[in-house]
């Protein structure tokens, strides 16, 4: 019991905190003032993750945690790393929200309750090792984010984006659920380890083989099971791919991102992606990831995801090219970034050993995924924060024209924004470059040369539209007669910007240190199953 509470600490802090926020909000006389407490809650949760890091490093710890939760939640370092990203994203997003909501006359306490519960949901999803838990985490997260998207209640776009997000999200959740139900039916288990074990063994129905014609019946049942399992796998992939916004499940992304209040956009771009990738890592690598041997294709999902990755990169980048709103451009580019991460993700089931004690190819690729998620989180939240700060009072800076001349008008914000944009574009020495570098390296290590080339070509397209922001900021003057943006004054946003800018630079200067943490984080979750003795 003691163990259980200890391992649950990051989630408990957020859940209890969420209820407290609700109470405080209900009983306080005026609206507002909850941003700092919410951010503190998230940072406390993040601190708990850091504190737990050393208690989650060995298989024994893992087994203890697993037994404490009956295998519903995994508390290994992968979870902690993802939880850290989620806590960071949630905390920084609530800092941003504190100023943004005030500025746009939206300040109501529910936002902070929603973000706190959504973060708790994200953490559940990131650590879930049971299909029921996956579903609960996913829905806790999603319901909060739907409501946050609809938070600008008098704004038609906000409502529309929320409706689209909600309807399609529920549809995707239903697909995921149906897949889960089929998996359960075929294996008798909802926990991932049980499903994996059941799938590894040939089907056995007690007493059937002894009956007349039993052998045939058994083989027919075996075939049915195999087919249904593959179908279920595809359904589960569809459900999770929706959350990371991978093509062809990406259509909601631009609309929801554009409609949502900017802090919510920053939040869901970062945390939802992190949580969904965590769940994918558990389900796909944990159940279908055939990590026993040197080169594994694991039921075809890596090949499938490779196509999704390329499609996401291509479509995300192409459509981002022709956007006139930076917010919408960032939404499409988030699809592309999802594609880049997927490109590393497809390599995760590979178990060849790398030279130089870096673990296996798969572990290195999974670490690339985590590193990318972290890099994307800091760059993206920073970019949205800078965009917010560049806006005029009551009017958001969302189009390219809104940032024209920002370099002269507000050099500090322009400088910060250029850091984040350069990082997102993948230009050294920002962290985004090393994130992409790791992904390319992983793809090449697994001989996915075509994937690596696709990634490089797409990065080049990306550079074009990212640099347009810089060109607008530094080389263009605002159109005559355009409303002069009065930059928002906000210590909360400044704090966020400085923090993320420093992280972007520091992680860019010492990428291997952070990659090392990521690698440590995946050592157990993507461990190659000990190869059976050769016959």
């Amino acid at each position: 019991m003691k163990d259980m509470l200890l391992y649950l600490l990051p989630i408990v802090i957020l859940a209890v905190g969420g209820f407290s926020l609700m109470l405080v909000d209900a009983f306080q006389k005026e609206e507002g003032g909850l941003a700092i407490p919410t951010a503190m809650l998230h940072f406390a949760s993040g601190a708990a993750c850091l504190a737990l890091w050393n208690y989650a490093g060995s298989p024994a710890d893992l087994a203890r945690a697993a037994s404490a939760f009956n295998g519903w939640l995994a508390f290994d370092r992968t979870t902690l790393f993802l939880d850290l990203i989620i806590a960071l994203g949630g905390g920084l997003a609530s800092l941003l929200a504190g100023s943004y909501l005030n500025e746009h006359k939206l300040e109501r306490g529910e936002f902070y309750t929603l973000i706190t519960f959504a973060s708790a949901g994200c953490m559940m999803l990131a650590g879930a090792t049971d299909l029921i838990m996956v579903f609960i985490g996913l829905e806790t997260m999603s319901l909060g984010v739907y409501a946050m998207t609809a938070f600008r209640r008098t704004n038609a776009r906000s409502q529309e984006g929320a409706l689209k997000y909600f309807l399609l999200g529920s549809f995707a959740a239903a697909l995921l659920l149906y897949g889960s139900a089929l998996l359960y039916g075929m294996t008798g288990h909802t926990d991932l380890a049980g499903i994996r074990a059941a799938l590894a063994a040939p089907l056995d129905v007690p007493g059937l083989a002894a009956q007349e014609g039993g052998a045939l019946a058994l083989s027919v049942q075996q075939t049915v099971r195999d087919r249904v399992v593959i179908l279920a796998m595809v359904l589960v992939i569809a459900g999770l791919a929706f959350k990371i916004g991978a093509v062809p499940f990406h259509m909601w992304v631009p609309d929801a991102y554009e409609g949502a209040p900017t802090p919510a956009t920053a939040y869901m771009a970062v945390t939802v992606k992190a949580a969904a990738f965590g769940a994918m890592l558990r389900v796909l690598v944990g159940v279908f990831g055939d990590t026993t041997g040197a080169a594994s294709l694991a039921g075809g999902w890596p090949g499938l995801l490779a196509w999704l990755a390329v499609a996401s990169m291509v479509i995300g980048n192409l459509v981002a090219l022709s956007q006139s709103s930076i917010k919408r451009m960032l939404a499409y580019s988030s699809i592309a970034h999802g594609g880049y991460i997927l490109a590393a993700f497809v390599v995760t089931p590979r178990a060849e050993l790398l030279p130089g004690g870096e673990g296996t190819v798969g572990q290195s690729a999974a670490a690339s995924v985590l590193f990318y998620l972290l890099a994307y989180a800091v760059s993206n939240i920073g970019a949205f924060g800078a965009l917010m700060l560049a806006g005029s009072r009551g009017k958001e800076a969302v189009s390219y024209d809104d940032v024209a001349g920002l370099g002269k008008r507000h050099p500090a914000v322009a400088l910060a924004l250029s850091f984040f944009i350069l990082s997102l574009a993948g230009i050294p020495p920002m962290v985004g470059f090393f994130a992409k570098y790791n992904v390319i390296r992983s793809a090449l290590e697994a001989n996915y040369t075509w994937l690596a080339i696709a990634l490089m070509v797409n990065s080049a397209i990306g550079v074009y539209y990212y640099l347009r922001v810089l060109v607008k900021m530094y080389m263009h003057d605002p159109a005559p007669g355009a409303t002069r943006a009065e930059p928002m004054v906000s210590p909360g946003i400044w704090l966020t910007l400085i923090f993320t800018a420093v992280l972007v630079l520091v992680m860019g200067a010492m990428p291997q240190t952070f990659f090392g943490y990521a690698l440590e984080a995946v050592k157990l979750a993507v461990a190659p199953v000990a190869a059976a003795a050769t016959p």
Binding site: Q159, A173, Y178, A181, L182, T190, V205
Partner: protein, 109 residues
């Protein structure tokens, strides 16, 4: 084979799921879309419960009830989802006076 078997339930729930999905695709009223999602979730519930009912017992003789537990969670979550969904539909109606989903197309391309 006169009695009702697992297969019947599975086929029924698959049909229900498909009806829900097709309804979701073709009906333009957002309230109907919500109902279709409910239908799909209930189809899943049926699948889960049916699987659990026909699940062979463990060697010890006990039957795990994961499927039914799962179904309870789905029901609970579906209720929450419906609440959020209706709230969003209402809110959209208040702003734009529309309930048809294809009228909500301010944002595109």
């Amino acid at each position: 084979m006169g009695s009702i078997q697992l297969t019947h339930y599975l086929v029924l729930s698959a049909v229900l799921f498909s009806v829900g999905a097709v309804g979701f695709l073709v009906r333009r009223n957002s309230l109907v879309a919500l109902m279709c999602i409910e239908l799909m979730l209930n189809a899943v519930n049926l699948t889960l419960v049916a699987f659990n009912r026909w699940m062979p017992a463990n060697p010890g003789g006990a039957v795990a009830h994961h499927g039914q537990v799962f179904a309870f969670f789905v029901i609970a979550v579906a209720a929450a989802e419906a609440a959020v969904g209706l709230a969003i539909v209402l809110s959209l109606y208040r702003v734009r006076k529309v309930v048809r989903t294809d009228d909500a197309n301010l944002m595109k391309e």
